[in-house]
Amino acid sequence: MSMTSISQTDRTDVDKPDDGENRPELPATGEEAETPEELLALWEEEAPEPAGGIANLVACALTLAFGIAGMILSWNLSLGSLTDPAPGFFPFVIALITAVLSVAQIVLGRRGGDGEKFNRYSVTVVWGIISLLVFVIALPQIGFEIPALLLSFVWMKWLGGESWRSAALYSALTVAAFYLIFVVALRTQLPHLF
C-alpha cells in the first residue's frame, strides 16, 4: 500500500473549521470498518483516482526531455574516452539512462501507470505555491515579517478555511514567535524590517 492512499483515510467532520461553509466535506466514512481486511478495503476505496495514461505520458515526456537536454549539455562538455573520461562522460550516461527509462515507462504505462488524478482541490496547491513564491521574492526586499504574515494568513484563512479572527490572531502570533526565535534569540541574519 502506498503512502498516498494512507494519508487519505478516515477523517470525520469533528474538527470542522470555524467558517468552513465554503469547504465541502466528504462524507465521514470508516467507522464501520472493523477488521484489517475491511480497513484495507476502505483505504483502497477511498484512494484517489489513478492519474491515467495521459498523466503518465506527460510526466514521462518531461523526464524524457530532461534526459535529452542532459545528453546535449553533457555532450557539449565533452565525453572524453573510456581510458580518460571527461566531465561530460558520466552525466551523459545518466541522461541516456533517464531517456531510455522514460521511453520504457511511456510504453509500459500507456494504460495508466501510477500516480493520482489532479482534482478540484489541486487549485489550493497552486495558490499555496504562489504564496511561497511571493515570500521568496519579497524576503530580500522588505524582510520576513510582512511576507510571513501574509503567507500565514493566506494559508490559514483561504487555504485552510479558518475564520478571519483566528487567521489574523494565529498569523500574528506565529510571526511574533518567529521574530523572537530567529531575530532576537538566535540572532540569525534573516532580513527583517524591525
Binding site: 470525520t12 474538527d15 480497513l39 511561497l132
Partner: protein
C-alpha cells in the same frame, strides 16, 4: 578488550551534558513534529536539518538520530489515536492499535509500542555494535570498482524494492544522480550545468533537495487533502499497560525484534516489510488468530518492535559501508557529509569517537523515548487537536526560514520551493522522491568510483572479472534489475497457459 575500549569511550561522549541535552532535544522535537499527520521521519528530519548546523558533528548526528527515532514513534501515535499511519511502517499498527483505542486501551497500545520500540531498538543497537565494525573491516579492502558496484547496487535496490512503480523509481534515481552533477567537476574543476549562475557553481545543496522534496512537497500534498477534516483524538484514560498485557506481548516483542533486525539490514523498505512480516508471524503463532484486528496487543507489540529494530539496523550499511539503505538514512548520510564526515568503512577506525558516540547515543535516546513517550501522551493529543490549517503555515515557515539560515541565501529558499513543487508533482505522478534523494547523495561516490575504475582498468572493462567482489555485486545488481521482468513474463505465460486450458 581492545574492542570494548572505544565502545566505552563512546559512552563517555554521549554522557557529556551537551550531547545528552541535544539527544533529549532531538527525541522530543522528533516526537512532537513526527506526530503531525503526514510528516514521517524523513520529512521531520529534512525540515529540522538546519537545526544541526553550527553544532559539533558528533552532537549534530546524535540529535538527528534522536529526531529519527522520536519521529518514528510519532507515527505510531497517530496510527493508534487517529487510525492515520504516519508512514508505511506504521500501517499494521493501525489494525489492532486503533481497535484498542476504541476500547479505551489507547494508553496500553502506546505503552506497549514504546516498550517494544525500546527493546527492538536496543537489540538492534547491540547487533549494530558487533556487526558494523566487522562489515567495515571486510570493506576496508574495497577499491573504486567495488565501491562503484556497491553504490550502483544500493541505488537500484532501493529504487526497485520501493513500493511504487519500479521504472519510475529508477527514473527518479537517475535524475537524482544527474542533479548531483551540477557544480564543479571534482576531477577537472570544470563547471557543469551551472548556466553561469554563481550560486550553482558549488552545486545544489543536499539540504535544499531534501527539505524541498520531503518537507515542502509533503506539506503541499497535504494541503490538497485539507478538505477532508480530521478527527480529534480523546486523551486515553489508562496510560500504561497492565502486567497481564506486558506478559502477553513479551514473546511478540522478542520475535519482532529479531525479525526486524535481520530485515532492516537489507536495503529498501526494511522497516515496512519487517512490521508486515512481524504481524503475519504473530497471527500465525497465535492460539486464536481471530483476535487480530480486534485489539490484540501482540498485533501492536510485534510490528512496533520490528519496525524500530529495522530502523536501527538500517544504520549498519550506512555506518559500515557508506551506503544508505533507505530515504531516511540518505538524509543521515547527507547530514554526515555536511558535517565533513564521510560514512564508510574508515569511519570506525578514523572517527571512533563519532562512530561509537552515535551508536551509544541510541541506547540513551531509546531510554529517553521510553521515559517521555507515556507522560507526553496528553501533549500529543493536544498537538493533534490543533487544526492542520494553523500548523501547516507554521511548518512551511520553519522550512523556508530554516533554508535561508543555512547559507543566508534567498536563492536556496527559492530552490527549496522549486524542489517542493517537484516533490508534490512527483507524488501526484507516481514518482517517489526517496530514490531521487538517495541517488543524489550516492552520486558523488558513484561517479568518482566509476571514473577511477575506468582509469584503473585503462579502458579495459574485462578487468572487472579479475575482482571477485565487484563481479558478485554486479551479478546481484543484474538479478535485481532483471528478476522483476522475469517474474512478470513468467506470470503472463502462466496466465496464458491457464486461459488456454480453460478454453480447451
Amino acid at each position: 578488550m581492545d574492542f570494548f575500549a572505544p565502545v566505552l569511550e563512546g559512552f563517555g561522549t554521549v554522557l557529556e551534558p551537551g550531547n545528552l541535552l541535544y539527544c533529549f532535544i532531538g527525541v522530543l522535537v522528533g516526537m512532537l513534529i513526527g506526530v503531525l499527520p503526514g510528516l514521517g521521519p524523513a520529512a521531520t528530519m529534512a525540515i529540522l536539518l538546519p537545526m544541526t548546523f553550527g553544532i559539533e558533528p558528533v552532537t549534530a548526528i546524535i540529535m538527528l538520530a534522536g529526531i529519527f527515532y522520536g519521529a518514528q514513534y510519532g507515527g505510531t501515535i497517530t496510527s493508534v489515536l487517529l487510525r492515520l499511519p504516519g508512514e508505511a511502517s506504521s500501517v499494521v499498527t493501525v489494525f489492532d492499535g486503533y481497535q484498542m483505542a476504541k476500547q479505551g486501551r489507547a494508553g496500553a497500545a502506546l505503552g506497549v509500542a514504546a516498550v517494544g520500540s525500546f527493546i527492538g531498538g536496543t537489540a538492534a543497537i547491540l547487533g549494530l555494535t558487533f556487526l558494523a565494525p566487522l562489515i567495515a573491516g571486510f570493506a576496508l579492502d574495497f577499491g573504486p570498482p567495488e565501491y562503484a558496484a556497491l553504490s550502483l547496487l544500493g541505488v537500484t535496490l532501493v529504487a526497485t524494492i520501493s513500493s511504487g512503480n519500479k521504472v519510475k523509481a529508477l527514473i527518479a534515481a537517475a535524475i537524482g544522480v544527474f542533479l548531483a552533477m551540477v557544480g564543479r567537476d571534482v576531477f577537472t574543476g570544470t563547471e557543469r550545468f551551472t548556466f553561469d549562475n554563481l550560486s550553482l557553481s558549488d552545486g545544489i545543496d543536499f539540504v535544499t533537495v531534501a527539505m524541498g522534496l520531503f518537507g515542502l512537497g509533503e506539506i503541499l500534498y497535504n494541503l490538497e487533502e485539507r478538505h477532508k477534516a480530521m478527527a480529534t483524538p480523546e486523551k486515553p484514560k489508562r496510560v500504561w499497560p497492565t502486567t497481564g498485557e506486558f506478559k502477553q506481548s513479551a514473546p511478540a516483542i522478542g520475535r519482532g525484534s529479531i525479525l526486524g533486525f535481520l530485515l532492516g539490514i537489507l536495503p529498501g523498505g526494511g522497516a515496512t516489510i519487517s512490521s508486515l512480516a512481524a504481524y503475519g508471524v504473530e497471527k500465525k503463532v497465535a492460539k486464536d488468530p481471530s483476535r487480530f484486528g480486534k485489539g490484540a496487543i501482540e498485533g501492536v507489540a510485534g510490528p512496533e518492535s520490528a519496525n524500530n529494530a529495522a530502523a536501527t539496523s538500517s544504520f549498519i550499511p550506512l555506518l559500515s559501508l557508506g551506503i544508505p539503505a533507505n530515504a531516511t538514512m540518505a538524509l543521515m548520510f547527507g547530514a554526515l557529509l555536511i558535517q565533513g564526515i564521510t560514512p564508510g568503512p574508515l569511519l570506525v577506525s578514523d572517527e571512533p569517537e563519532l562512530f561509537w558516540g552515535v551508536v551509544n547515543s541510541m541506547y540513551i535516546g531509546n531510554i529517553l523515548l521510553l521515559i517521555m513517550a507515556i507522560p507526553l501522551i496528553g501533549v500529543f493529543v493536544k498537538i493533534l487537536s490543533v487544526r492542520p490549517a494553523i500548523l501547516a503555515p507554521i511548518t512551511v515557515l520553519i522550512t523556508l526560514i530554516g533554508a535561508y539560515t543555512i547559507k543566508n541565501s534567498v536563492f536556496d529558499v527559492g530552490l527549496v520551493v522549486l524542489f517542493g513543487v517537484i516533490g508534490y508533482l512527483m507524488k501526484k505522478t507516481g514518482f517517489e522522491p526517496g530514490p531521487l534523494v538517495l541517488a543524489f547523495v550516492l552520486a558523488e561516490l558513484l561517479e568518482s568510483s566509476v571514473r577511477r575504475s575506468l582509469i584503473l582498468f585503462e579502458g579495459n572493462l574485462g578487468e572487472v572479472f579479475t575482482r571477485p567482489i565487484t563481479v558478485t555485486l554486479l551479478f546481484v545488481f543484474l538479478i535485481v534489475i532483471f528478476l522483476p521482468i522475469f517474474q512478470k513474463m513468467l506470470g503472463r505465460a502462466t496466465a496464458k497457459s491457464k486461459s488456454k486450458e480453460l478454453v480447451s
